[in-house]
């Protein structure tokens, strides 16, 4: 792995360079202007000169996760026309897809890890894979964390570079740049960068060692526990009662990946899109027959947590949560997944 050291000015130049050939995004510092409809909420397009003002980042995860770059809201699957005079009326067509490389700046380790987790169910998904192919993540490892951060508990680490293409970390007079992938490699090709001094590299390694071995051993007992016990826990009742079943947690969550598919027709032009769905919504599990297996709020609330902490790990191994703490901060009714985990742990301990 190549490691460089750059000055803030060099970072600025680097971003300017990328901007010439790629589409570059950075976390929005405030509400974006409506003028950029090609950008997901919480992110903004970077033009070269603005690069420096975007950095340094605030402590903790970005306002919005990197999910929309891989799993856009919406993704157009197919298009068609219904115009009366067209010979191809009603025929489905693949839309033109952008092949432009997109570079996302300011990604935190927790979000980088979320892409790896989402990749597990989306291994075979051509759209996710295509987006992954053309997206490079340029991240910053966390010098500080918030009280709501709990990545370590979920098997991650604030200092980790896993999943990033370029990982930046703060050093005296600038940044250490770790090149973590081929895409990362490509991003620095052609730039005249100085290798990082050995001292900086070892200091970084020392910090990582001091952070301990990231693992979710504490929670691993959940994986082995009896589903019935967790499912029937009394805690779901009060949790479900408080939950308002909005989709805030699922939409700000980097690892929630559910979708629905719908057709939209405007003035004779149609498209089939897939867009984010949320297991919090009654419609999510509603059958055509009218039956809804998760018709109750409590059932939906339980499903979300058990999916993250039991069903997903049972199927894929890791928990479907990276501990970014966004849902903890933004849940309107203060449902705190850390407390949920505590309660479940307590339950399995009693068992």
């Amino acid at each position: 792995m190549k490691v460089f050291k750059i000055s803030p000015a060099e970072l600025d130049t680097m971003i300017e360079q990328w901007n010439k050939v790629h589409v570059v995004y950075a976390p929005a510092m405030e509400k974006q202007a409506a003028a950029s409809p090609d950008c997901a909420p919480g992110w903004c397009r970077v033009d070269g000169s603005a690069a420096l003002t975007l950095l340094p980042l605030l402590t903790g995860p970005t306002l919005a996760s990197v999910k929309p770059f891989f799993f856009p809201q919406p993704e157009t699957l197919l298009t068609y026309t219904l115009e009366n005079t067209r010979p191809d009326k009603g025929m489905m067509r693949e839309p033109e897809r952008s092949k432009d490389m997109q570079v996302v700046l300011g990604v935190r380790p927790c979000d980088a890890r979320s892409v790896l987790l989402n990749n597990l169910p989306y291994q075979e998904d051509q759209f996710f894979q295509a987006n992954r192919q053309r997206t490079a993540l340029v991240g910053f490892i966390c010098d500080q964390t918030l009280s709501t951060c709990f990545c370590s508990r979920m098997g991650g680490s604030p200092l980790d570079n896993e999943g990033l293409d370029l990982a930046l970390s703060r050093a005296e007079d600038g940044f250490i740049v770790e090149v973590c992938s081929e895409k990362g490699e490509a991003l620095v090709t052609g730039l005249e960068l100085a290798p990082a001094p050995e001292g900086d590299i070892s200091a970084l390694a020392a910090r990582r060692n001091a952070g301990g071995n990231p693992s979710a051993t504490e929670l691993d007992s959940l994986k082995g526990s009896e589903l019935g016990t967790l499912y029937d826990a009394a805690m779901w009742q009060s949790l479900g009662e408080a939950c308002i079943n909005c989709g805030a947690c699922t939409f700000i969550c980097p690892t929630c990946y559910c979708f629905d598919i719908q057709d939209e027709v405007v003035r004779g032009q149609g498209r089939r899109i897939r867009y984010w769905d949320s297991c919090m919504f009654p419609l999510y599990s509603l059958h055509t027959s009218g039956h809804n297996p998760r018709g109750q709020k409590v059932q939906r609330t339980r499903n979300r947590f058990l999916h993250k902490l039991k069903y997903f790990p049972d199927r894929f191994g890791p928990f479907s949560c990276v501990g970014c703490g966004r849902c903890v901060k933004d849940c309107p009714v203060n449902i705190d997944i850390r407390e949920v985990m505590d309660d479940l742990m307590h339950l399995t301990a009693v068992e």
Binding site: K31, Q32, A33, A34, P37, A40, P41, G42, L58, T59, G60, A64, Q73, P74, L146, S147, T148, S238, E241, A242, I244, N245, C246, G247, A248, T250, F251, I252, D260, Q262, E264, I273, Y275, W276, S278, F281, P282, L283, K297, V328, K329, D330, P332, V333, N334, I335, D336, R338, E339
Partner: protein, 352 residues
């Protein structure tokens, strides 16, 4: 001397315990402590011994009326779809309510969502609830780890700072412009009544927008709603939004698309606000719960202003009066009707 809210908390616990012990109600809807500074958790208490969990603070920003219909249902004896209707009186639920929430309960009664006889309103005069977002904005880049609440000030603490700020300055916009802070429906009074506020201009925020040009207003609208992620927290936290299927989920016809298209998102907010016309009490919950900090409240506030000016109605003030869109008078204003007709030269009109 304990703070006002501490005293109110004590009174709530005592009264809730009494109601449950005496079997007057089957459940009490209130708040428990949150896991983060400046948060609370909505709580349904069913056992007297759990009443000690109840609290009252300046951060009780969630409208409890939103939970009332479900709480009432939860204490009813279970009934299958073919079972006969329950005979005799059904258990009651007590609920904490400030001015706006009590008015929402009135609207729920008007709209048959709540039976008046089954609710015990524990009325609390509101001194204005604090906006977590406003407090956080005062400390950019800093994480707040604790907030202590006094009667007129807040002490905000972080890892390496502690600062005292004026309480009213960080009270939510809707509370600052409120004119009816005291509950309009009270079965059990908690604390002292709060007098009506003579707010010089409750619609100031709305008027600021109205005074802009059309293009400016459109720019404001598109900017404001561009960050919406369609999580529907605003809708689901609102006690008025109780439709089993929201219009956004209709397929035939599909009123609004479901992705993040700016038009669909804008339509969702406009129509949702419109559906609250004449029913909204400006409790501010929609705005408070939005994870993206969108001020969608301005739309409902605009409608409240028009309903008041055109029909002299404020939502939820009188349980027996009809809602503005279910009634009319012969001389309702009709300024919006086209009056300036183009007198067309008869030759043109007659095709000559």
């Amino acid at each position: 001397m304990p703070t006002i809210n501490k005293r109110i908390s004590e009174e709530i616990r005592a009264q809730a315990r009494k109601l449950l012990e005496e079997g007057e109600v089957a459940a009490v809807l209130g708040y428990g402590a949150g896991s983060l500074p400046m948060t609370v958790k909505p709580l349904v208490v069913r056992r007297p011994e759990d009443c000690s969990k109840l609290i009252w603070s300046a951060f009780c920003v969630l409208n409890l009326a939103n939970y009332l219909p479900a709480a009432l249902k939860s204490v009813e004896p279970p009934r299958g779809p073919r079972d006969p209707k329950h005979e005799g009186p059904l258990p009651k639920v007590a609920i904490l309510a400030t001015g706006c929430w009590s008015r929402n309960i009135v609207v729920q009664i008007q709209e048959h969502q709540v039976a008046r006889g089954r609710v015990v309103v524990m009325g609390v005069g509101s001194r204005g609830m604090v906006s977590r977002r406003k407090v956080e904005a005062l400390f950019p880049g800093l994480e707040i780890l604790a907030v202590e609440e006094g009667d007129h000030e807040l002490v905000v603490r972080g890892a390496d700072f502690a600062e005292t700020i004026n309480r009213w300055s960080v009270v939510r916009d809707n509370c600052q412009s409120c004119t009816h802070p005291d509950p309009v429906l009270v079965d059990l009074r908690i604390g002292e009544p709060v007098s009506e506020r003579k707010n010089p201009n409750p619609f100031k925020q709305v008027e600021e927008i109205e005074q802009q040009s059309g293009d400016e207003r459109w720019a404001w609208f598109t900017r404001e709603f561009s960050t919406c992620i369609r999580c529907y927290a605003c809708r689901n936290a609102c006690p008025l939004c109780y439709c089993p299927t929201c219009f956004v989920d209709d397929a035939k016809p599909q009123w609004v698309g479901k992705s993040l298209d700016a038009v669909d998102t804008g339509l969702f907010h406009v129509l949702r606000a419109y559906h609250c016309a004449g029913r909204c009490t400006d409790c501010g919950t929609c705005e408070t719960v939005c994870p993206m900090g969108i001020n969608m409240r301005l739309l409902t506030k605009k409608l409240n202003k028009d309903v008041l000016n055109l029909y002299n109605i404020e939502a939820g003030m009188e349980p027996d009066s009809p809602l503005p869109l279910t009634t009319y008078t012969m001389d309702d204003p009709e300024k919006f009707i086209i009056t300036e007709l183009t007198p067309v030269p008869r030759a043109v009109k007659e095709g000559k």
